[in-house]
Symmetry: C2
Amino acid sequence: MKIVFRNPTRTEQIAGPARVGDVLARLDVNPETVLVIHEGTLVTKDAVIGDDAELEVRPVISGGAGPARCHACERSSVIEVARHRAAYCAEHLVDHVRSQVRDAIDRHRMLSYGDRILVAVSGGKDSLALWDVLLDMGYRADGLYLGLGIGAYSDRSGQVVAGYARRRGAALHTVDLAEDYGYDIPAATGLRNRSSCGVCGLSKRYVFNKVALRHGYDVMATGHNLDDEAAQLLGNVLRWQTPFMARQSVVLPATEGGMVRKVKPLYRLGEREMAAYCVITGLDYVVEECPMVAGNTVLRYKDALNELERHSPGTKAQFLFGFLDRVRDAHFAAADPQGGELVACEACGLPTTSSRDGRAPVCAFCRTRAR
Amino acid sequence: MKIVFRNPTRTEQIAGPARVGDVLARLDVNPETVLVIHEGTLVTKDAVIGDDAELEVRPVISGGAGPARCHACERSSVIEVARHRAAYCAEHLVDHVRSQVRDAIDRHRMLSYGDRILVAVSGGKDSLALWDVLLDMGYRADGLYLGLGIGAYSDRSGQVVAGYARRRGAALHTVDLAEDYGYDIPAATGLRNRSSCGVCGLSKRYVFNKVALRHGYDVMATGHNLDDEAAQLLGNVLRWQTPFMARQSVVLPATEGGMVRKVKPLYRLGEREMAAYCVITGLDYVVEECPMVAGNTVLRYKDALNELERHSPGTKAQFLFGFLDRVRDAHFAAADPQGGELVACEACGLPTTSSRDGRAPVCAFCRTRAR
């Protein structure tokens, strides 16, 4: 059979018929990090595939497929979620995703039905699925897409997002970094040999907040999932960056100075579940990773956590939820010395932290742009 | 050339001549986890090895070899320590190990020259090297070996330790679990399907403390190294076991109830440095891992940290030292609710924590033994 790996794309040949689980083992692929797709549908580790078949092995930066019966209806399942000791059929995986989002929203009072919500959409699985789930649940959610100018990758991302908005009849704001701010990510990175992920994150935070303020949105929603948040926490813990730990949260409240409330309704769901949601609901997303992400340390933290999760399902959730529920406020609340002290940036008027050296305050975005 | 992997032993053939670094890459071996030995001496990644040569690739549970000149004398080096951005010749690697032990002892006032020290020796690289370094530095250090009854592995361990003591003319105490306490580790594990590492650790802590008390030693020294302590911390952090975090330390003070002071003078040195110390000084140690350790979670935490260290040298040290120096006392001091409350065990008289349910206090060792 032919095995097509995506992202980057390569092909392997293996003699069939064979169990999907055995194929993955032979290719040394951690099932926790991929989805396996046969003729457009997910297949589980127990499925036996013929010699003339073609399998797609799709990384989700963490994903796979599982055996057994659906946890809810006893039909055969399409995905196993080891940390819940559960497997789901296509229909009930969608229910599982919605119920975890419901749980996240209720537990932290993230959203109410009166809120005008702005969803930051990149074209990737997480942000599109978030928008989709919020619309299906009846929330008033518009999208915001930021063009980063990263060649064909950005072109395709923009098309995917616009296509989704059109099909759903949903409102979409589009901002283009180059047109509206005079730079794009490759240019900003090349200029000063800066980390592209750093400049990109800074630009997104700034532009998203500005658009949300200008259009009067009550809250911004981002697609950060369990893997993102656990990897972020691991990075902070390995260096014991206690001020960052004090601020790590799934709800960032609005501030008087002009920061819109931010929420992360996917923090209880893994990347694999989000990728499965997209495959099952037919949601077209950009499978390719950003071409500038190579060597990103967060990806290495995800790898490390996935290897631990493979042997001890639940490690990631226990690590993140334990921190949020019991540890952050009890042990790190006082670790953020500059928490809340915001003043207006001299250049753009948006909030920034007061400068310590007595100079006029200029926010990180305006400082970066000035270079 | 022939490549012999140890522990477990297997053999590979690769056409030569080739650079050691390329050989490791071709075999997908992380250089951070092995030592490479050619004709009894360490070789660096840059060494070119002929086709008729035999290389030993020796896991150290984390090890390797490096290029460049010695940090201290400019001679060609035998080992690189990436987190110090340094490489050492054989002579100066020994100096490096001693100076890190010196630093650990001084920084935490672990030992004085008047102290009678009992070193817990297993026959592995860390504990034998610790004993060796302490004797060379002029400390009054005797050894204690505990026979665990794990077949040929224990037999060989006992011989290695006795051989070392004889050659150095050092005093060695030997205790045998089966003879003196009526059980061995395989029996205790098989009986109740318990974790062998759990029973073994409990037995060691108990017997070592008892022997130290009976013979009037001032302090116990154990061979826990940087990798051991960082892996332990990662395990505690992933589960946010805050009472264990409050207690994690490289010096455990003596208590009035009868716990001897315990110190870990190797906590600033990686496993690779300890294995290199043994190879360089010709110190015979048991290279084999304990046959009962398979699946030990601590080994998985070491793997995860080694993968991160490979890309970001210094990760392990930053994680452990940052915790010990800045985080534990500032953020977790109050997290140990039972810290210090010790009473005498009803069965053996040694200290144990007071029981919460009002029953007579019996220590974990006596409870385990009674089963």
